[in-house]
Assembly symmetry: C2
Homo-oligomer: 359 residues x 2
């Protein structure tokens, strides 16, 4: 496959790590990155090291996916999935990099060069359900005909993207949704593990994340997770102040446990024909005060074989693998796969499990 | 994806189970099957149930992949991976089915209808290294431009197929090699598990197979495995009589343990860019006197993450899943994926890990 030129929207925890991991992938060349205040663009490939050094602990955005700024009507703004130190004012975020240029319209600036892009990875929080779908609209409206890929988690957003499938098909756009760790990596693992069976009864995805050193860079992710706690939803989580989030974390001694999450794995596995969405359960434990995982990330798939045996296949991640490692490697793998699909003329909306061998 | 019409060469243990499992896959329609004595052909889809009932315990072939018969020069013969009861004479194998017609040239008969086929699954033993490559030659020479897929195990055969890559590309033929359980299912699992890492140090594939009830149907497989034992190789295993094989099995009390097998997983993972072939080890335990697995089939992938942590990811198959379940589901999954590649204009030789998302 030829080289893939790609852009990253958002340079919070996920966006920055995506850029970092892409340096290990020969075929991938990051040529653009943006946050709410600025854009870095180099068609010969960004100097990722300089960009990361300049933006570490210096993130534009507070993890709320805020699009209500003065330029929201024209550009939608670019939030990041991170809360950092220097969040506002001169020198915030990407403009602190030598490669960054300030702009009031970062997404439009990326769209302006989109015809040179093979893929755009959307590393933005999605606390408004339709935030990422609306970004996709803007790319489609502008005639972009490459790959869009996100790492979103919410089941209901998939439906919003599906409503746009025809538009994407007409535009020649291939959208891959939920291509991070979970959904994403673990959805793919579940689809693979299901291959022993002719009928799948139950898929259980259970994750552990230790986020002490990455806590500040991943507040957007923590905020999204809090929306899954009893008593909270996406709207209430979005309205929480940073102090209120700290109080919730404090009240749980830094360890948040989640059950029956509305994680898109369920609809993504159903789309791929693996099982019914209702047979998928997702939960996990997040510890923001330790980098050690509070529990082992495990996917179990229980089904019946063609010869009538009931069994459970298991996929387990080593406890030393960070969330960042399990998001970004798979996301870039799915990105490459999506570019191949796109070049072969396959357009529309795909989940990670649909990019697995034709299972 | 549109419906896939496919043929199976060989109706031994693997071929028959492939037909059976395909009944659970909506998009797959088996339209042809052959063994050394006959062919069954129905463009509207074979009656798989009738075919299986008629050929159960009634297999043409002795598991040696014998191509030395009188018609070898013109047709190469079709062996199966199985030894059965009524192996020769009238009514042996597929001709026992109402759908079966006797023929002296079964492979040529399939080639004669190949333009109607999207895929051909080669479920034949490969005790002569170049047996399957030579079958591929015949399809390519006849202008077949679909998918050929096999479940072979031997590393060195991949090289022989690679030598033919250009011929396949010119013919518009997509060849997928080693798409059974191991290599195949477990190679794919290793490729997936490697996604946490930017460098993979070691992949260990360890399988357990209990084959009591399937022993008679899978003598070809057992013979191939014996070739991996100390003191044997592919040539000596091929020359063993059934009695000699029984003696070997007896001497091991029915339990054969294998280490450092020349299993194609190593070269297939290297092809896909996952790790070096020498970092892959394959071994396992075969028990022909019990259907219970003598050990749990496990894939472990050890690597280093982008953030410098060394860890091991693990994929484990439930002990109740039979070899047949783990061969045929994945083989048909890879077959579907290969047809998609073929239709998109991707020709040549692929391993299972290359059909995974663009990892």
């Amino acid at each position: 496959m030829n080289e893939i030129d790609f852009a990253v929207l958002g340079t919070g925890g996920i966006g920055r790590r995506t850029l970092e991991v892409s340096q290990h992938k020969e075929q991938l060349r990051p040529v653009a990155a943006c946050d709410r205040n600025g854009i870095a663009l180099d068609r010969d490939g960004l100097d990722v090291e300089e960009l990361l050094d300049a933006t570490e602990g210096n993130i534009a955005g507070d993890g709320r996916g805020d699009t209500d700024g003065p330029d929201a009507a024209t550009d939608g703004g670019v939030a990041t999935d991170s809360g950092g130190v220097k969040q506002t004012g001169e020198g915030a975020g990407i403009v602190a990099s030598e490669q960054g240029e300030p702009t009031a319209t970062p997404i439009d600036d990326v769209i302006a060069v989109a015809e040179d892009l093979d893929a755009v990875l959307i590393a933005l929080p999605n606390l408004e359900h339709d935030f990422i779908p609306r970004i996709a609209d803007r790319f489609a409206d502008a005639g972009y005909s490459g790959v869009l890929i996100d790492v979103l988690k919410r089941s209901r957003v998939i439906g919003m993207l599906d409503e746009r499938a025809e538009t994407f098909e007409e535009a020649g756009l291939t959208f891959v949704c939920g291509a991070g760790a979970t959904p994403g990596f673990l959805t793919g693992a579940a689809a693979l593990a299901a291959q022993s069976f002719v009928e799948v009864h139950e898929i259980d995805i259970w994750w552990g994340v230790g986020l002490k050193s990455g806590y500040k860079d991943n507040r957007g992710t923590v905020r999204e997770d809090i929306a899954h706690l009893d008593g909270y939803d996406i709207e209430t989580a979005r309205d929480l102040s940073d102090d209120e989030i700290e109080e919730i974390v404090e009240a749980h001694d830094g360890v948040l446990e989640f059950h029956d999450m509305e994680h898109a794995d369920d609809v993504l596995l159903e789309r791929a024909g693996i099982c019914d969405a209702e047979d998928v359960t997702v939960g996990g434990v997040l510890d923001v005060r330790s980098d050690e995982k509070p529990t082992t990330t495990t996917v179990t798939v229980t089904g019946t074989t063609f010869d009538g045996e009931r069994a459970t296949n298991t996929f387990e991640l080593g406890d030393e693998t960070s969330m960042a490692a399990n998001v970004n490697g798979p996301a870039l793998g799915y990105l490459q796969s999506a570019v191949r699909r796109n070049r072969a003329g396959e357009y529309g909306v795909f989940g990670p499990a649909e990019l697995m061998p034709g299972f």
